[in-house]
Symmetry: C2
Subunit: 343 residues, 2 copies
């Protein structure tokens, strides 16, 4: 049915005619067409209005030619649905004015009916699928429970998320209760995304790499595992735990179809940790897209060669930066699409 199902076949481990490519945050601020919409509507208007979310989601498919669309939304819609106020003011970063600090604060948090609270996401997915008209697959997503806890406890972005960590270290029972509530919500949320039409889903553990291996495997991984387990018979799941290279083996054992990796681990080493049975996704340094185009081309080819021609989805190692010229993003995508393995 899908005209371009390279991403899905690669995630299933099949040999494909070429490497599929998309970019994290591809529906974002480097695109003038996105900025034009951003200047007219607030973040929540953009993500709660299916027509706007749809237009933004499809922009990079039309403009940059990626092999997959990823839903335009934010991981913080889940804490919002769980009862916390979330302010998303671009240039300022997210703010949760009443974060969770104590057992009493947890009373304000609930496992919501996702259809009641996040119905606009599923409506957007349905519309996007219709507008995509089977050109490329649609990726749904959610934040991993540890990363969402970071914001729900710290109340804002942080380099260290030390208050979120301190919450886990000093009130572990409470922390695990909150993590379980996020997990239950996320499972329902992702199942509904799949029911609405998402072809695959990615879990973003953006702050996984702030934890030691021991803490990652106590605080983050068990909940990722639950989510993968609940979803894997319905869809292909990609885990992206930025910086958590030390647990690639354990993440590969969850039953996920793909593992995102960042540029701070070499493809060969990631493969040796993750084993041969899983698809790897990544890992171009987003800042390297600021290089001259010929440098981008050379470096992308090096990356493709290092990953090899199976079980690899070309992507950045983190979100595309707002100051990347569109032509550079296109050079990234085109180099992957035109790569000749016989060269």
């Amino acid at each position: 049915m899908l005209k371009n199902d390279l991403l899905l076949r690669t995630l299933r481990g099949e040999q494909t005619e070429r490497t599929p490519v998309w970019m994290m945050r591809q529906a974002g601020r480097y695109l003038p067409e996105y900025i034009a919409i951003r200047n007219k509507y607030s973040f929540f208007e953009r993500c709660q209005t299916p027509e706007l979310a749809c237009e933004i989601t499809i922009q990079p498919v039309d403009i940059v030619g990626v092999d997959a669309a990823i839903l335009f939304s934010d991981i913080l819609v889940v804490p919002q649905a769980m009862g916390l106020e979330v302010q998303l003011i671009e240039s300022k970063g997210p703010v949760l004015p009443d974060p969770v600090k104590t057992a009493a604060d947890l009373n304000r948090v609930r496992v919501p009916d996702v259809n009641e609270t996040l119905g606009y996401v599923f409506d957007a997915i349905k519309l996007i699928k219709q507008e995509l008209n089977n050109r490329v697959p649609l990726i749904g997503f959610a934040g991993a429970p540890w990363t969402l806890l970071c914001y729900m406890v710290q109340g804002k972005g942080s380099k260290t998320f030390d208050e979120a960590k301190a919450f886990c270290y000093t009130q572990p029972a409470l922390a695990h209760q909150l993590l379980q509530m996020i997990t239950d919500t996320t499972i329902a949320y992702l199942k509904a995304q799949v029911a609405a039409g998402a072809d695959t889903v990615q879990l973003f553990d953006s702050w996984g790499g702030l934890l030691s291996k021991q803490d990652f495997e106590t605080i983050s991984l068990p909940y990722i595992k639950q989510i993968v387990n609940a979803l894997k018979d319905e869809t292909l799941v990609i885990i992206f735990a930025k910086g958590a290279w030390y647990s690639l083996q354990e993440m590969a054992a969850t039953g996920a179809a793909g593992l995102g990796i960042d540029w701070c681990i070499e493809p060969q080493m990631a493969r040796s940790f993750a084993g041969d049975n899983i698809t790897l996704q990544g890992n171009f340094d987003p800042a390297k897209l600021l290089s001259p185009v010929p440098v981008i081309e050379t470096e992308v080819k090096k990356m493709l060669k290092a990953f090899g021609n199976t079980k690899h989805v070309a992507n950045l190692g983190h979100g595309i930066l707002p100051n990347v010229p569109v032509a550079h993003a296109k050079a990234f995508v085109d180099t992957v699409k035109n790569y000749d393995w016989n060269d």
Copy 2:
């Protein structure tokens, strides 16, 4: 001569009666005695007045009982000495209002006479050595060239230092010229610190881990190597490249005496990468000092066991956080000092 030379003997690879311990940023904001001085004097007054720098440097030796003092200063005194304006306003982070962006900007940067521009540092070291009166060794330090370039080009702190990276990717010849100037300055600076009395020196590559292995070994490591090479016959050099676990083997080959590691790599794995001939320093998660004291004690013991009883300097995996209670810092230090290897 030194009454407590545990750190130096451990860095030389000798078996010692117990593991030495100090903490990065131990002369810092978690100490009320430091805050009292900070409230009276600006950052540059504190670091340019030998009596103040001396008092601040010795505070954690007296109050927390660490096995080494580290000079109170900042890595950005070097860019300042090289001709760039540096503003250090606490709570705001560093600002360099006229960063280096072009070849013309490089004309404003010079390799200075360190005695003329940084004499106050050497005066402070002499005074500290006198006041320490051989109780513990004094650690001198400098920023690694890549980390200093980050600030000199980006002009302020950043999560990604993408402008600094773009400078290296788009103007590599200029970047290497600047890196060499920083290197030449740093060699003279550290040699003068040693001449003034520093017993060992640490190179801080705080942003090393933002680079891929390939970039780290092109942009950062060659200059670290030059510095270690120039210093290693005069003193023991510790390299701390935060996050750059992927190049531990290459850093161990520089001739450094010690390698700092952060908490995102397990001691056994760091040892397997670094080999058996170098001392490892680290790697307690600074946020874990926000745990209850019994948890700190258990976790510190686990860390000591994992590193083993030779070639290990106990430390944090990054600087101590301002919100750590002094009693918790003491618990960290005391647990190391009282650890019984027969337990």
